[in-house]
């Protein structure tokens, strides 16, 4: 399997191949490719694919189809026996109007075109941002691994960890006990993503640490590998969750299921 490429780079590469990058971005990308063998390799693969797809013999329009269409359409005009009259009249009425829209429509299309081409860059920028979030969360995990311990509050008791979060953060997640599923709660810490503090719950599975960071909802990142750590992300109504671990992805999938299933219903007092 090819080493993970950032989502934004994958999109950038496709956009470059399709001539959809603006001139400045295209030149920047060419420079990057000159130095990056794996980018170049993927670029060549895309070109090979393009050649292959375009080499498929193209279907020719069957002879007579054009004539058949013309006669079908003619039968639809007014004055023909049995033909509906509406379309024909509309056609006549629309005829003169057609010429006056041209300039306005052209001007609108030019503006529209400019907006749309920046949509390509906006899309790439969005993925760049998400990639960045993922990287920061992984950085938090790595820092946790390097610190004397990966948590600021140590407790296997969710009734200790949750209030610790609540006293420090505007929104704090339900802390779930997953010992039965093999993920022991170690504690929690506060990480920073962008300029905002976020809650990270720390679990242990065999010799492996899992950091589960919670973010505002709707910002899930793609599953990926960063710096040798696997990242898995999902969202619910309240939070986006990003799990980081050196565990294999399959185990992270198990973790996601266990956590989602174990999320307790709101406590009834």
């Amino acid at each position: 399997m090819i080493a993970s490429m950032k989502d934004s780079d994958e999109l950038r590469l496709n956009a470059y191949c399709d001539g959809e990058l603006d001139a400045v971005s295209a030149i920047e990308f060419e420079r990057r490719m000159a130095d990056d063998e794996s980018l170049r390799a993927q670029y060549n693969r895309l070109l090979s694919l393009r050649r292959a797809v375009r080499s498929i013999p193209q279907y020719d329009v069957p002879p007579g189809l054009r004539a058949r269409i013309k006669s079908t359409v003619d039968a639809d005009r007014p004055g023909q026996v049995g033909g509906p009259g509406q379309a024909g009249r509309a056609r006549q009425a629309g005829g003169t109007r057609q010429r006056s829209w041209s300039f306005q429509a052209l001007a609108a299309a030019a503006v529209f075109g400019a907006v749309i081409s920046s949509s390509v860059m906006l899309t790439i920028a969005h993925y760049d941002l998400q990639d960045d979030v993922a990287r920061q969360v992984v950085a938090g995990h790595i820092r946790g691994q390097l610190a004397p311990q990966p948590f600021d509050v140590a407790s296997s008791n969710r009734h200790t960890v949750k209030p610790w979060f609540t006293s420090r953060l505007p929104e704090s997640p339900q802390v779930v006990d997953l010992a039965a599923q093999g993920f022991v709660l170690l504690g929690g810490r506060v990480d920073v993503v962008g300029h905002d503090p976020v809650a990270t719950i720390v679990y242990k599975h065999a010799a492996h640490t899992v950091s589960l960071t919670t973010l505002p909802p709707g910002r899930s990142v793609s599953d990926q590998a960063i710096a040798g750590y696997n990242v898995r992300s999902w969202s619910d109504a309240q939070f986006t969750y990003i799990a980081v671990s050196d565990l294999p992805s399959a185990d992270l999938e198990t973790f996601e299921r266990a956590f989602s299933a174990g999320s307790p219903a709101p406590e009834v007092k």
């Binding site: 999109l11 496709n14 797809v53 498929i56 054009r66 269409i69 379309a87 509309a90």
Partner: protein, 172 residues
Amino acid sequence: MFDEVFLPHMAEAYRLAQWLTGNANDAEDVVQDAALRAFRGIRKFGAVNARAWSLTIVRNTAYSWLMKNRPKSVVFTDDLSVTEQRELEHESPQGTRIETPEEISLSKADAEDVQQALAQLPAQYREVIVLREINQLNYRDIAEITNVPIGTVMSRLSRGRQYLMALLGDRR
């Protein structure tokens, strides 16, 4: 006006219909249907882009035709369950779950292999690849024709191409 707007794009329309329906006869039916729709709707044509407009009609006609005649072959995001739909929309553009080979053995893959591989793709990936590589439309036009945001077009293209590479790479 129909002659200026729709007829010049007939060859493209036919090719697109072929890819969406899978055979020549059905493609013909679809193009005839689409031509009629285009003719009747011509007064609504106020845009500059005759090609995108015409191909949008062809695409929609093709899917209507498929829904009517071959409903089982059409799977659209609207038909998927909410979870599957969410999965589809949030999938990574590079699809870490797809194993792409180090080299595509394209020298060994002949046109038939490529055609088969393309036919195996899920509809929403196949159509953006066809519109891009065969109809050679830009992202904006593809977005207009398939009625999704440009970001979705980009993501589907990227992922569809990964699928194709994986399928073609398997051949020895």
